[in-house]
Symmetry: C2
Subunit: 431 residues, 2 copies
């Protein structure tokens, strides 16, 4: 496998742009080792050159006019992180592809509005157009629908596509806050922008839904085809009533295909409290794809944020070189890591322990003494009612302790006369 | 884009093999249209030719000896669905790849044991080796780790990897069944095999975990490196106690990377009842990938079963031709579907409706009369306590009704003198 070279030009140095530069600088040696890929940032461009940044812009060629980047034959990939459905973003997309450069973007408005046109251009000029970060931030939903869910007919695609709205609705519910207060808190914590209109109006969700509908149904939709209702009218009383009725309120984007008709809608929805989707809290996003053969596949992850979104952009850049796939099971990767196997004895965690003991005074004291001697602290203890033939089941829950230690103690306890059954040990994993 | 041809030879005609043949026969015209791909089954092989099957084996060349298939130059892909970590499966893998044929398998034991060796062979002979269906059935976890989660360092990968165990543990909990009874039920319903040892011992989970560890850590592990404990010792009392303590018992496969040490373990685990993983019920599987940049990505879906597994095998076959990816945003796909957009007015569903009304007798009767006239049946109604300035909030939950109808009624109600606030309408989505 020969070494490939990718030179990148980045337009837009905001949160995601900075994250991307950090990833490339941190990981370029790893990418070389794992993927035989020489990756370099050649040019950068942003509105203001003088802004304080987390990296030194002097390491790269500065372009005050990003369109001039297209004239640099060294640059293979243009990464557009400026936003906006038209104007400069669209111009960059079209001109990059016409010049045979790959075009990578995180711009949902651009892809929702002009995706089909840009894609056809990329086919005509045999260049690559990728947009993994435009939907679901760190969730790789674009590649999932492009490369994996390509067999059966997809009937429905839906999900929680906006982290800001989900965060606000979570906090309204958990902390009994009115909408405005929850929004304020989200802004203070960086989960909502100072102008939150695009998020809370449902528009951001509608862009993402438009992209998903295009991808899974091959449907050339317009944003105006989508029914959109935001979360601004949700009151505390609705959150409480929903809870009382066994539901949670989330903002869903839903697209259904039925008899060659596609219905696309974005609106607050009551979903059953015991459903998986109701557990997708705070800034998490989720997307469910409902397929003819595989049934529902659900994917959950961080739908926004600097590093998750930048990593999605980075995955698009790496996928431009198809040889990446060759990394599967590479024993070379293995050697470079020098990994060794570790025994479960090193696990440190909580344990659930059950044993049957003689029903007589002092037994509990005897057993707890063994735990105490090994400095294992017990979080809770239960003596169960269902006594059988004078044997009482006892259950202990420990605090964190190593596997090695707990096994040693249980071995000693197991040989005591008062222990009348096998000791059951189940590990507790607080995920 | 020129038309490509893939001729398939299928070895093993059990559940998954039959599912694959059904998918190919049903979908080959669609694949031709969408992916410019001529797909054909050329040869088939199984132990017994005379068995009753869901398809006519006379449509294909029958090979009593599957190794003879390798001599047919027409066949491009060998699909191995017979199982077993060594013997015929391994021989087929090696010989197919050496002959330059692609090799697709759903065989977790084979991939767990010989994956690295087979992969290196595929590199040497420039042929393809794919095994999406070997882990997670219908969940596309292999491609997710190969194509998407390729940027950051992965720290943990874990999940519920065996549908049979998850089904048994779910039923023990939901229906208060002892292990043996739950196993029996699972066998009767086809969720467990007549010899369930591989599943309930945790071995099946260990094979899958071994594959995942290899993929994400580049770790040449042996199955014997993995600590394995099955679910046979879990008793009803443990399920009940776990529930009382706020936990659920699931069988997890867990692999962690820490300081170049990989700890791999399979064992029953208590997970918090309010965690997402605790909602993964019955035959569902889930895998969580914990990455340096994107944090946790969780994917949930059917981990086994005829069609989900066969669709995974099919996705491997389609991915042999890389042009598939070109289908993204294809306006051709759009034309072939003739899709049209549908208005939300056609939605039929339940609604949550809130309004503030005058606090005087007869108001409720007036409003319910409007619903009755339009034959909208009300599932529940609440008069809330928090009266403000003689205005009482009322909440209605409807049975299923069309969007159009509910809007019409609410329009009429909204102009009544007794209605003192805006009417809030939130859709209920029973996912």
């Amino acid at each position: 496998m020969s070494i490939r070279k990718i030179n990148v030009g980045i337009v837009g140095l905001g949160t995601v742009g900075s994250g991307l530069i950090e990833i490339i600088e941190k990981k370029k040696n790893t990418f070389k080792k794992l993927y035989n890929l020489n990756l370099a940032i050649v040019g950068v461009s942003a509105k203001r050159k003088t802004k304080k940044r987390s990296f030194n812009i002097k390491n790269y060629i500065w372009y005050q006019d990003p369109l001039k980047m297209l004239n640099n034959p060294e640059i293979d990939v243009i990464v557009e992180l400026i936003g906006g459905s038209d104007g400069l973003a669209l111009e960059l997309a079209e001109k990059s592809l016409r010049k045979g450069k790959s075009f990578v973007t995180a711009n949902k408005a651009l892809v929702a509005k002009h995706g089909v046109k840009i894609f056809e251009l990329s086919n005509r000029y045999n260049s690559r157009f990728s947009f993994e970060a435009s939907v679901g931030g760190g969730i790789p939903i674009i590649r999932l629908t492009q490369n994996s869910m390509i067999v059966g007919k997809i009937k429905n695609i839906y999900g929680i596509l906006n982290g800001t709205c989900n965060y606000i609705l979570s906090k309204m519910r958990e902390d009994n806050l009115p909408f405005k207060k929850a929004l304020k808190n989200a802004q203070n914590l960086g989960f909502a922008e100072s102008d939150p209109h695009d998020d809370i109006s449902g528009n951001d969700t509608a862009y993402k839904l438009a992209i998903l509908s295009k991808l899974v149904f091959g449907f050339s939709n317009k944003i105006s085809d989508i029914f959109v209702e935001g979360i601004t009218n949700i009151e505390e009383i609705d959150i409480k009533m929903a809870s009382k009725l066994g539901y949670r309120i989330v903002l869903l984007g839903i697209s259904n295909l039925n008899n060659n008709k596609v219905m696309q809608r974005v609106h607050p929805s009551l979903v059953p409290n015991n459903s998986m989707i109701a557990k997708v809290n705070n800034e998490l996003n989720t997307i469910v794809v409902d397929d003819e053969f595989t049934d529902k596949i659900m994917i959950v992850g961080k739908g926004a944020g600097k590093m998750p979104t930048a990593a999605s952009v980075m995955s698009d850049i790496l996928n431009i070189v198809d040889e990446n796939k060759k990394k599967v099971f590479s024993s070379k990767a293995n050697k470079s890591h020098k990994l060794i196997s570790q025994n479960i004895d090193k696990r440190e965690g909580k344990f659930y322990i059950r044993m049957g003991v003689d029903d007589k005074p002092g037994v509990l004291a005897d057993i707890t003494l063994f735990f105490k001697k090994q400095k294992i602290s017990i979080k809770s203890m239960f003596q169960l009612d269902n006594k059988i033939k004078n044997i009482v089941p006892l259950v202990f829950v420990t605090h964190k302790v190593t596997e090695k230690k707990i096994k040693l103690v249980l071995k000693r306890i197991s040989i005591l006369d008062i222990i009348k059954t096998k000791i059951t040990l189940i590990r507790i994993e607080d995920m």
